[in-house]
Symmetry: D2
Subunit: 350 residues, 4 copies
Amino acid sequence: MKAEETLTAAIPMRQVGPLRLVYDGAEETVCVPMATFESPLWPSTARGARVSMQTAGIAVSIAADVMARSILLEAPSAAEAVAAVASLCNDKPRIAEAVNTTSRFGRFSDLHWQIVGNLVYLRIEMQTGDASGHNMVTAGAEAAMNAILAWHPNLRYSSLSANYCTDKKTSAVNGILGRGKYAIAELRVPEALCRKLLRTTPQAIATLNTRKNLLGTALAGGTRSANAHAANMLLAVYLATGQDAANIIEGSQAFTLAETDQETGDLRFSVTLPNLIVGTVGNGKALPFVEANLEALGCRQARATGDNARRLAAITAAAVLCGELSLMAALTNPGELMNAHRKLERAGRE
Amino acid sequence: MKAEETLTAAIPMRQVGPLRLVYDGAEETVCVPMATFESPLWPSTARGARVSMQTAGIAVSIAADVMARSILLEAPSAAEAVAAVASLCNDKPRIAEAVNTTSRFGRFSDLHWQIVGNLVYLRIEMQTGDASGHNMVTAGAEAAMNAILAWHPNLRYSSLSANYCTDKKTSAVNGILGRGKYAIAELRVPEALCRKLLRTTPQAIATLNTRKNLLGTALAGGTRSANAHAANMLLAVYLATGQDAANIIEGSQAFTLAETDQETGDLRFSVTLPNLIVGTVGNGKALPFVEANLEALGCRQARATGDNARRLAAITAAAVLCGELSLMAALTNPGELMNAHRKLERAGRE
Amino acid sequence: MKAEETLTAAIPMRQVGPLRLVYDGAEETVCVPMATFESPLWPSTARGARVSMQTAGIAVSIAADVMARSILLEAPSAAEAVAAVASLCNDKPRIAEAVNTTSRFGRFSDLHWQIVGNLVYLRIEMQTGDASGHNMVTAGAEAAMNAILAWHPNLRYSSLSANYCTDKKTSAVNGILGRGKYAIAELRVPEALCRKLLRTTPQAIATLNTRKNLLGTALAGGTRSANAHAANMLLAVYLATGQDAANIIEGSQAFTLAETDQETGDLRFSVTLPNLIVGTVGNGKALPFVEANLEALGCRQARATGDNARRLAAITAAAVLCGELSLMAALTNPGELMNAHRKLERAGRE
Amino acid sequence: MKAEETLTAAIPMRQVGPLRLVYDGAEETVCVPMATFESPLWPSTARGARVSMQTAGIAVSIAADVMARSILLEAPSAAEAVAAVASLCNDKPRIAEAVNTTSRFGRFSDLHWQIVGNLVYLRIEMQTGDASGHNMVTAGAEAAMNAILAWHPNLRYSSLSANYCTDKKTSAVNGILGRGKYAIAELRVPEALCRKLLRTTPQAIATLNTRKNLLGTALAGGTRSANAHAANMLLAVYLATGQDAANIIEGSQAFTLAETDQETGDLRFSVTLPNLIVGTVGNGKALPFVEANLEALGCRQARATGDNARRLAAITAAAVLCGELSLMAALTNPGELMNAHRKLERAGRE
């Protein structure tokens, strides 16, 4: 096999759903493409989608949208590092100017810093339109860096990427300062529906969520994470829509919350994904199956800059919610999970 | 489109290498299949592989190999929780017996616990042969749970999975107690080779590693992680070899270490992956492209149980090292990274 | 002032309580000495103690008791590091022998490892009787290290302490592998009592605990921690009983759990402190006020080795629970916390 | 003993130093009061101070100064939570007005948020002058909350403190968004001095710092922390100067950095403490020994608001650096640490 030949890894993919989505002021039904080697993921997510169809729908909000890259500079001393940072924080318009020359859609939004000894870590944050924005922030950060090095000749280059960004690595900074879309998907499930379709109760899911997703994750030494298996749904949607799926690392730092409404007894179920990195343009988006999927999802329409990508984030978050709800419900019932798995494994072999 | 129809996501894939590998007492050259939407990953990893070809090779050791699932039980009180755990810790042979009935290859290896109030988290650990072992540990944990509930009628079921496992979620527990193969890949690069092929010095890489991978990640609030982009290489090899790629979450919690040999001046470069979850049998492994890749990697041979999977872990770790070395070297040179990206992007469009 | 002259910092101290304690099969009432500059801490903790007096008491269990020190060794290669670790794991009796010569009370209990590249981190764990055990584990680790260096001439010394211990630093390892007493204090508060003494409901406290202590801490990027202010009570008891109070760092990584009993409606309230490091002998314990406090607490009696220290851990955990309960209750009532503070501040000035 | 009687815990205290300090444009020598049960801490810190006396001094910079409290509000839905947050982010001047009425010195500085499902976490940040500011931010946060609840009648109170502050709990948020003084202390030690006074080399300390403080802490699952024993020095200075010493929890999340100057061969040694919470007014500061210590440190002079507290932070950071340098140097020499301890323990008993 010639090393330069490009082959394909043909990963099984299905359309899962429909699920009922409430986004951007409208209600609609959507099927979500999911590519995975783990076929039990499809029926599991589909069960959550079926629940959503009998409710008012999964309402998704996007609370923020930003991309970031950090650079690393070296000052002669901590005092000079502090002085340089203070000056740069007063110089944001000039930095914005440098950054914004690098792209038609990328726009500087803010700057954050850390200093350790004489080392300066600068986190350049940008809006990146419909692109996930990795390359855009790298180019923007490089431009900012070159400008800063010109303005502050006492600073020296240390690295164009300094892990305070941080890309495809678990962190707290991404959730606190933002990286990707900050998506919140929520669903209200009446108790009767909970019993009928999920064979469980709102209280059982709420208790399990506290014990497993919050407390269990804390015991495991998890960071900014409280969910059952968000990574599975993220991976499958990412692969089906041409995303850089290594971003499931930060994407999966998601918070599932389940509470019982004290008045109605409904299950209030939500999944919050503060770092959902997706794009509808860029690497991988021109592949035929990706284009078809993005078209079918309505993420290739003429919209304001960034709206297609945010729509994709909303749909992805809804799919994550479906998978979370289904697994959490299953775990409240002893035996259900393994029986379902066994049945699916058998079915998969037939 | 009919919901139940299975399509495929055709992800671009290349054979990258060859790299020189030293594993299990033998030296060999290997090409590694990588499937990704991010085409610059191929030449970047290939550069690291080229360096390895001019050295004694990337030596990989597997220090441990285990899989885990945690269950959650509820006791009437903390005192009874403590008593039950003490009893179970003395009952490991009986638990092993229950666990080992569930699989031909899965073998109980140990048990760890946490107690919070009256809640008992038990982490069941097993050897799972050539399978990554997700289903095996779930079945084993279920058997253990049923036995324990029978022996301790004062305990009640709370969950078959309690996030102290922990699967596809960032954590500290997986690295400390083990989950997946504990793989260490190391390479010694003489200074002259470092300058010639990577246009940098051992000292520059060592300094950058401390500042970026260790300190930068700490600043970002990372957990048990110190690397530049391990997730990228892991994802690509996982997709090409039929792995459940959501396991890059824990897999990417890897440690890149770079030191200058005080005597020879060589760069000592290593990547340690304490949670490399891979298998050569199970879901996804029967797909034709997966079979072809596993065959080509020598991971479908008649070996002792688990040896094929450990070999795959070793090769994966070596590929991660190649990508880490290449990016770290590039970052020591201002401008190199963006120029390389721009060139590749252009090439990709032609 | 002559540098070598020893003065005293006279920190205000009160006896807080009594609280009702159930420990080691007996029920008793205890007043807990607390030294602090923050006088509102006394009435806050006292309120929790008053609640306990009207219940069956705060039941405390000690689930484990161990101390640890990690050493760092350097091997010529990762392969040799792996081989050395494998050999050492088979050599525990010999390591125990080396460790146990260093102290009359210190006893080797186990060994855990991490390998990064060619570096070996060994965590030596010991029982240390009634001492908190810092010096004992250092001496034990040094003995183990010297023995290991003699047995494995290919290993080299790198450090007697390697932060995988870890002492007075936040971590996940201490909770997972153990360091200090693993103490669990729990209290059942009937709903009527909750309303009468705490002006709140079990459900309100349970909901707040999930939102604030679990979710809020996760958002903050906390590690293995879910409590409101355990550090405050720990510090005050530590100072009053001669403890090395820098150990509140790991001590405060505690889990407050609050659930409503589905059958009785009681509040089930517990605080779990996996890393409570206390001793009744050693540095500071011979100071007159410390001796008086330890005597009054019944922690200077003729008991089996370690029992005095474990009793002190149990009392400390009970005091932490009192403070947690009081603050959590106050926070469920808008205005209560600030009003209480204002009143106390005024009282403090009179 | 009457419960309400206030006694004192008389903790041994010494003046350690002098150390050479460069702060706020001036060079001076300072003795630092340290109260501790652990007497070996005094000579250890004093050794670092002696090194500083033969250099240009420990230069300390304060890069930021802020205090924070988070509140928790509940919206009817995630969509309304997002809308409320967006509105509040545009309403900062009005929030500042509400906050600033609560104190003469406290000033609103910024606002950050997190949303999970329908829950809103708001982090109110303030300048608090010479006070550490715990009470000031609580009062400010309460005022902000009352105003917000009046402006947004769809929001409901959930908690006045929500652990996204976060107070006396380990976190990432405090370092990333700021809480306390952000202090950086750095010292340049020529190689000859390093050999003479510390019996080690810059390279040995730099290597150990990477292996122990950075890598060892990462292995332990530490969060935003890389130091040997910052907590010890912090505790001792805090107790001697009337600080709420439970704040060593966040204070000890400090970064020790050691690099060899490539040109001069000097050791560049620094300790960065992003969360140093100290005050020179407030609880505990009126005690005679505290007043005497603050006077002696020059922290009770007529200065601009906040300057006395920042000076205290600078001195504290310098003391931490002395202790870090001394222990790190000792650990590079096999046997030194235990021998020193044994000698001191013996001396302490005489």
